[in-house]
Structures are given as structure tokens and as C-alpha cells.
Assembly symmetry: C2
Homo-oligomer: 350 residues x 2
């Protein structure tokens, strides 16, 4: 048996919520790594991390960090990606970027490996990982679209606080403790750290994720709308989204309405399609109270679907409840999956 | 000035979450009461309650309790209503029932006073208070329907735990404390006390409110669908609902998609209609991050609407975010409003 090819991999944002999950998955999945570089901001540089039993010291990310790197997995915010991803590419690395920096660029494939893996072959050095709430939705809907056609999607999300980072999770727990002890609640991070006002998330719901656009939709909602069309290769697809932040740390849930191109289908047809779908697990038995919840999906790779119902009025309409761990399939796992496709199909070289 | 007419009023379920709110509102609004009877199960009978500075001893509800009562406000569960509401009517009382026992009965008006007050005149002794999640939605949508026509509603709810009663709120807080202290979580009430399985609600979301029907929708979802058509007097109206329980105590929020009968309308047309609507407060300024949340709507009578957006694809489509205190407008306040209409319009007698 020939020796397996190995790669030099860098994680940018290695100490963040997603970066930590990426490191763990690379280890768990035995990704063929020669050398792993852990890169971060100056603030976290110098930290010691463990990988495969060895200590790695976190370094401050800079252009030169990417010398000799084959694959760079970015998850340190859009501005870092905009600055350093081109530097990584210039030095011969292929970048899988987990921020929104390049997602809508014409030359950048936006990929969910179960949905459009072949788009990876077209990369010019950067491949974008979609928004967490988009990934789980398209993973659940693409097999249905392939089988029966979908022309309209209306989604309302139930999104976890970890999507806003580790500090937001700490804020949720601190606020929750203060609330339960009858203390005053301090809000400094959510809904959006850089926005003007902050509201409590503990025992509350915030109908704002990311900043508002001029059309009244938030940037998160527009990400779901635009990214879904790009990943599905269907600009004519109607997509509407309402994105809401809720007081739990992990897993996004989504209430999704779809209109198929065809009439005459039943819940069991949707079930059959989802049961055969890669990376999707059907959990749908109302009489036994079987359905996914944020807690049941936590720490799992797959996208879980339940509550499939036929609309009572529109013969082409169906409703679904889609849940997945936003840090895994929604971020770290999808990123590593893209890296796996790159290496396994020999698509690393442009 | 002639002496104001006063009435003998009974609250059935007086020690429950809604019963307590009803008592407070009757006091705050100076409802013209001669004598107030507080009725409950045997378990709570004998408790002392205060009303207008006087002590009232809670009595066990029985058929004879309603002798001499003019208005009986029921909020003690469907089985109590089914048993005792007819007894109250037999003794001359008019019943306002806050359970689902009679809502879909042909002879029972189902009323939101801002929407269909005139239906109260048709009562045969019982008037039903709609489900909490229905009330706030129809209060927000009826003025829009009157102005522009609505033919389709798709709603996803974000519902508070207090809709399942005081014990469910205690469970939420106890689970939250245990979770934050790293202890094992005990689930005995939610999603539905009488159902087979129970799941944690703390730091979670449960896509089940009330039991499942054969069509895969929950009873809560079917309540929203059927009650909305009845209150709107529009059996042809398309309504679909997905109802989700979330970890906060008070106020339901709803992500609502509507399709109007007409094209060519703008967000400002919807704003204008909502600004002029009774019992509705528009809170919609995205650039200033103004929108209602469960916490901002708590302890308020009105229905709050924000996040009004025009659908990006369907020229007749709009999205809204509707929030209201589920124990007030969703229950106690709507109940007292019905009683007010009964007395003020002289509709007590059949």
C-alpha cells in the first residue's frame, strides 16, 4: 500500500468556537495532516494547544504564516479573511473560508459537500463555507428539490447564541444566572456586538441577527436568501427568511415552508427522499413524539428533519422542522468536509 | 348621575396564572363589580386572596357556585369548562371561557374585541376566548385584511412557557438552574403534561405544543388554523402554523408571512394601517434597532408589531413579527375585554 499523501494545514481563528471544533474534527476524522499550524490574533498567540497528543503553540496570523501551507481553514471573522486569505492563496494554499467575506464572489465556489461538491473543482484558490443557517437548510432541501422541484422557500429560524461566538454564550449564561437570582441584567454583545443597542438574550428572543439592510431584512436573512440560490444554482428560486436569536447555546432550528413544482405528493414521499439523503437523518414520528430539538442535535454531524407535514391548503406545499449543530455541520464539519473533497478528488491544485 | 350598574362576577381557576391576571385586571380597570367569587379546585379552596383591599376566600367550584352570578370567567382547563360552564349558564350567568372546550362550537362566538365584537351579541350563554397565539395574530392581521385583503397566512411561533401554566414556568427555572450548575436536568411537564415523553425546555426549543393530530399538526397548530378562520369569518382563508415552545416565561412571538389580495402595496401602507389599529402598537424602525421582543411586550396589554418587510419575490407578500403578553392580551385581558363589551353594550341577556 502506497504511503498516504499528507498536507500542511493551517487553522486561522484556532482558539475560537469554530476553530476549536475544526481542530477536534481533523483529529477525530484522521485527516491526513503533515503539519498543523494554529493561527490567531495577537491576543491569543502563545497559547498551548494539543493535537494528536502533541503540543502546538498558537501563532499570530500573518501573511508569512502561510508559507508551505497546503490548506488554510479560516474562521476568524470577515476582515481577517479579506486581509489574509489572498495572502494564503498567493503562497500556494487553498483557502476554505468560513466567513461571509467571499461567499457571493462570482469566482468563489460556495459549497455544501452533500449538495454541490462539484463546484469545488472550479475554485481559484478560495472556497467559501456557507452561513450556518443556510447549510442545514440546503442540506435538507436539495434532495427534495432534485426529486420534485422546489420553487418557493419561506423559513423562520430559531438560532443558537454560539453563532455569535464564545463570548455571546458566556453572556447568555451570565444573564441567565443574574435573572434567576433577581439581579439586574447586563447586555453588551447581542444581538450584534458592533451595533448601537444591546438587549438581553436570556429568557428572551431577538428578531435581529447581524445588521439591518436597507430593505428591512437583516444581513443574516439576506445571506440565507442569496446563498441558497447560489448553492442551488437557481436564481429564480423564491426564498424568504426571518432570523431570530434564542436563548440556547447550540444548534439552529428552522421552521421551513416549501412549495414543490408538483402536486400529488404525500408526506411519505418526502420521508423516503430524506431517508435516502446523504448527511440527513429523518426523525419524524409525531405519535411517538419523535422530532429533533437543538439539544438532541448537539454534537452530531448530521442535519435532522422532523415535523414533515403537507400544507392543508396548497397541494404543492409542505412544512418541515430542520435542526443541526451550528458549530459542526453549520461550520467546522462542513469546512473539513470541503477540505476532504479537495484532497480526495485531487482538486487542491488550480 | 345615575348609579352605575354593577355585576356579580366569578373567576373559575382563580389561583392559576391566568385567573390571577384576570383578578388584577378587574381591579385595575375598575370593572363594575358588586360581588367577586373566586373559584378553584378542591386543592386550592380555602386560600385567601385580596381584591380591592378586601379578603376573599377561594371556594371550590361547583354547579351551585353560580347562583346569582352574572358573568363567569372560566380559566381552569377544558374539562372543568365542559362540566361547569353549562351549569353556570343554566343559573343565568354568561360565561366567558378561556379554554378550547367550546371554541369551535357553532353556537359559541369566538371573539377578539378589536376584531369581531359584534359576534358577542349572538351568544347563547357562552362566549369563547381564542387561543393565546391566535388572538395576537388576528389582532395584528385583521386591520390589514380589512384594508387590503389577505388570502394566505403562514406562521411560525415562538411561544412562552407560561402558556403551559405556572408549574411549567417553575420547571423552566429549575431546569435552568440545574443546567447552569452542571446538574442533571429533570423534565416532567413540557412539552405536554399528559403526553408520554417529556423533554427539557431550558436552553432548548420544543416543536410540540399540545398533542399531535392525525394529520401531523399539533392541536395548538390546528387551533391557530381553525380559530383564525372562524374569527375572521373566512373559511376560504389559507392558514398554516408551526408552533414551538421556547425557554422564556412570558409573551409569544410570531413570524408571520401573509399574502395580500392586492399588489402594489409598500411597507409604509402596512405601517399606516397598523398605526391606526385598535390595540396594536407598531414598533418598527430597523435602523434604530426598534422591534418588539418577548421581554419588551411583557406586562403590556397591546399587540406589538415590528419587522414589517415586503417579500422580495411575491409582490403580494409581506412578513411581520408579532409579539404580545400571552397571559394578558392572549388570555386575561381579552377575557375581561369581552366582559366589558357584554356589559357596556347591554348584551348580557340572551
Amino acid at each position: 500500500m502506497p504511503e498516504q499523501q499528507t498536507y500542511n494545514v493551517a487553522i486561522v481563528g484556532a482558539t475560537g468556537a469554530v476553530g476549536q471544533k475544526i481542530k477536534k474534527i481533523l483529529e477525530d476524522k484522521e485527516f491526513p495532516i503533515n503539519e498543523l499550524k494554529l493561527l490567531s490574533s495577537a491576543r491569543s498567540a502563545g497559547k498551548e494547544e494539543t493535537f494528536r497528543g502533541e503540543t502546538i503553540i498558537v501563532e499570530e496570523a500573518a501573511a508569512e504564516s502561510f508559507e508551505g501551507v497546503d490548506i488554510a481553514l479560516f474562521s476568524a471573522g470577515g476582515s481577517i479573511s479579506k486581509k489574509l486569505a489572498p495572502e494564503a492563496v498567493k503562497r500556494g494554499a487553498v483557502v476554505v473560508d468560513n466567513t461571509s467575506a467571499f461567499r457571493m464572489d462570482k469566482d468563489v465556489p460556495l459549497v455544501v459537500p452533500e449538495v454541490n461538491p462539484e463546484d469545488i473543482a472550479e475554485h481559484q484558490g478560495i472556497i467559501a463555507n456557507p452561513n450556518c443557517s443556510t447549510i442545514q437548510m440546503v442540506a435538507a432541501l436539495k434532495p427534495i428539490k432534485d426529486a420534485y422541484g422546489i420553487n418557493k422557500i419561506i423559513v423562520s429560524t430559531y438560532q443558537a447564541v454560539s453563532g455569535a461566538g464564545n463570548a455571546a454564550v458566556e453572556e447568555l449564561y451570565e444573564q441567565s444566572r443574574d435573572y434567576l437570582e433577581g439581579k439586574e441584567i447586563n447586555a453588551e454583545i447581542l444581538p450584534v456586538k458592533g451595533d448601537k443597542k444591546h438587549f438581553p438574550i436570556a429568557f428572551n428572543a431577538l428578531p435581529q441577527i447581524d445588521v439591518f439592510e436597507d430593505n428591512g431584512f437583516t444581513f443574516e436573512e439576506m445571506k440565507m436568501i442569496n446563498e441558497t440560490k447560489k448553492i442551488m444554482h437557481d436564481e429564480a428560486l423564491n426564498v424568504a427568511a426571518t432570523c431570530v436569536r434564542l436563548p440556547f447555546a447550540t444548534s439552529h432550528a428552522e421552521s421551513v415552508y416549501i412549495e414543490l413544482d408538483r402536486e400529488g405528493l404525500a408526506v411519505k414521499d418526502i420521508w423516503k427522499t430524506l431517508e435516502a439523503a446523504d448527511g440527513v437523518i429523518l426523525q419524524d414520528n409525531p405519535q411517538a413524539q419523535e422530532y429533533p430539538t437543538p439539544q438532541s442535535a448537539q454534537d452530531k454531524e448530521e442535519v435532522f428533519v422532523g415535523r414533515v407535514r403537507k400544507d392543508l391548503d396548497n397541494p404543492k406545499g409542505f412544512h418541515l422542522w430542520v435542526v443541526s449543530d451550528n458549530l459542526l455541520k453549520g461550520a467546522a464539519w462542513n469546512t473539513v468536509q470541503i477540505a476532504q473533497v479537495l484532497t480526495e478528488r485531487g482538486w487542491l491544485k488550480k
